[in-house]
Symmetry: C2
Subunit: 425 residues, 2 copies
């Protein structure tokens, strides 16, 4: 997950319910949050706190590297089943899910958190407790969200909520880097529910009130430069893929990216060569381009792809091609679509109203999360914070704090958003 704030909004609104010029969503949120059933649901979350923590530890200690989420997926599927969901299943790519049926005639809402972490197999994922902190790679992003969804289901049951919508609770695969959103992509492009999903909420670590309603798009390439290679002394004077790649990098670094919508580029990984005294036969660079605007991302990609051949041509002109020319191969290794859910879309209005109703000022942001896929297809989607304070995501020092009153308050915002969206009664 990566979320950047776009802009704080509702700047004039006070952070207390009632003071805001109340919309229909605000009124509905107030009714829901003030109701007797919601008090019961909150009590259920509170009673569940230790169990949520225990489930986080259990799931964190089942490693879930990119493309290897199966063991954790199986454990989470068993948990979904234990909550009494129907149609519990694992799809072809490894997403696990179960249905909480509505009263009928309502839309289908997907509520998900991702199973995968960024850490490779073999990483020590034993959870270490220190004061009110829990530490382990992946514990925050996004393992801490998975048990919160289970607690939501129990709270809904405990409070005897009926919803008009069907809710598909899910643990999905492939959110992180190399996964390239394949779990979400499969769900919307090939999964059995693909034509029925009307709303999509993905829970990620983060505060309540933070509503990610824009999906930053990205294109990632691994560009390999190939040449004849040879001995640094015996073959001196022949073309080198190292110099061709340097030409390309220099040209890439000169691209002027738009400031708004934010558009960026990066040379992330460099590799090449086998020994100091060999002219490399191959070098490679792995690059990232991102934008909050689709035309801007397309334009940047076009500029990038257009600079590769001239970079190679310059090297083929600068040195001897007697033993062979430099060529390149640009392989697309990541493609996350740009997308937005408008601020006046129902899902965003509800999320904002529930936040305000809970005393939290909504803030909108852009991110690169599972929501990118539905957003890019025009399906209403947001990514919301699941409640715990987490830190050092993607590092070996990743951790989360346990602060029950605050954590429970935050979780309640997420739960209320789901309930409001599902037209719970």
């Amino acid at each position: 997950m990566r979320i950047t704030l776009l802009a704080a909004t509702a700047a004039l609104a006070l952070a207390t319910p009632g003071a805001h010029a109340a919309t229909a969503e605000d009124k509905a949120a107030a009714t829901l949050l003030g109701g007797e059933k919601f008090a019961k649901a909150r009590a259920s979350l509170e009673a569940d706190y230790d169990r949520i923590i225990q489930d986080i530890i259990t799931l964190t200690e089942i490693e879930a590297p990119p493309f290897k989420e199966d063991a954790r997926g199986a454990a989470y599927m068993a948990m979904l089943k234990a909550e009494g969901l129907t149609d519990v299943e694992r799809d072809e790519v490894g997403n696990v899910m179960g249905l909480r049926k509505g009263t009928g005639g309502g839309p289908l809402i997907v509520v998900t958190a991702h199973l995968d972490t960024v850490f490779p197999g073999g990483t020590n994922v034993k959870v270490r407790r220190e004061g009110n902190g829990l530490y382990a790679p992946g514990i925050g992003d996004d393992t801490s969200s998975l048990p919160v969804l289970l607690a939501f289901i129990r709270a809904m049951k405990h409070a005897d909520y009926a919803t008009r919508a069907d809710i598909l609770f899910m643990g999905n695969v492939g959110e992180e880097g190399p996964g390239d959103l394949r779990g979400s992509r499969y769900l919307f492009q090939k999964g059995k529910y693909k034509d029925r999903i009307k709303y999509f909420i993905s829970f990620e670590p983060g505060e309540p009130g933070r509503i990610t309603n824009a999906g930053t798009g990205s294109r990632r390439y691994k560009v390999t430069f190939n040449g004849p290679g040879g001995h640094s002394m015996g073959d001196f004077g022949i073309v080198s893929p190292a110099f061709a790649m340097a030409n390309a990098m220099v040209a890439f670094g000169k691209i002027k990216a738009p400031v708004e919508p934010k558009t960026v580029y990066n040379v992330g990984i460099l590799e090449g060569g086998t020994s100091v005294n060999s002219i490399p036969f191959a070098t490679a660079m792995t690059i990232d381009m991102r934008s909050n605007g689709k035309p801007e991302l397309d334009a940047e990609e076009k500029q990038f792809l257009a600079l590769l051949q001239p970079a190679v041509d310059a090297e083929n002109a600068a040195r001897s091609v007697a033993k062979g020319k430099i060529s390149y191969d640009a392989k697309l290794i990541g493609d996350r679509p740009v997308g937005t859910t408008a601020q006046d879309a129902r899902i965003v209005k509800i999320a904002a109203a529930v936040a305000r109703g809970s005393g939290v000022e909504p803030r909108y942001g852009a991110g690169s999360t599972d929501s990118n896929i539905p957003m890019s297809m025009g399906i209403e989607a947001v990514t919301l914070g699941s409640g715990f304070e987490t830190f050092r995501a993607h590092s070996l020092e990743e951790g989360m704090k346990m602060n029950p009153p605050e954590d429970l308050k935050n979780m309640a915002v997420g739960l209320a958003t789901v309930l409001a969206l599902a037209e719970a009664r």
Copy 2:
């Protein structure tokens, strides 16, 4: 080892003994080669052929990666001891050696082959036989030379040769790349014989008649570019070590190196970055500069070192340094001195005369071998071919051919050179 031919000489000389305008060395060589004792010595080599092959296999199958030559060194030291040498020992860096004492009053000659191969520990070094070929990483360079030295000792004994010179037979460490000639360097700078060595012959794979009497110098650097690093989206706009390195590479690629004496440069290895969507905090390039001339190598090194800061400055000017600047660190990782043994030096004249006397036209060349060290100190040194036809050195498909009549003829040239230099009788 790396040897390049400088120029074929003696172009007018016929390749048969006698037709050449005979020098004193030619006459001495002819006497030696035509003598009864030498016939006995050749017979010894011939009788030894299978044993030489067996020893090559034995030693090849004891891996000897750079800096890890100990196991092979111990095995070779035992072999030297078994040949009846005195003062058999291992020095501080791992060179193993033993003395064949002369009759007294003569110089000290070092006759060596290197123990190390380029292959890392764990490489499969099991020798595979196919027809008259033997295949294994390192079998040619330089393992095939080690048992030939043992056969020389046995031949000298069998023929009852006495030499005026003391001969120190050696298996030395650290000839290949990262070893940076540390075995030879230690021998001449710190070893117990350092002040007594008058002549140095290192045997490497190659044909007889090929006399490496010039040492190509090299300077190798690993240059690391450091910066603040960050997230490709969140931190876009800050300086990147990847772009600074690209600037340096482009400038390096524009250096005009002298054609004569041959002077070259190479970007050998590129590395850097941790993930596609992180701005690297470090990138590195490992580069090689070589020359057959010391002033030319010095000048190239100066040009290279001078282009690094401007490359870094350009990046610090092109992007934001708010989170930190790019800096660089250039670490010298290899330094092989340039050196020459003049063509009229005694060791070269003898090697050439013996080659001619054996029907082989001498050819002079430059290389980057253990001889670089004594050459750079003004001590007479040459690198000669030990006899076997080898191929694909430094590759996993490395191999050697077994062709007894040819191999034995070639070995005899090496043995005769040692005998002539040592004033054998």
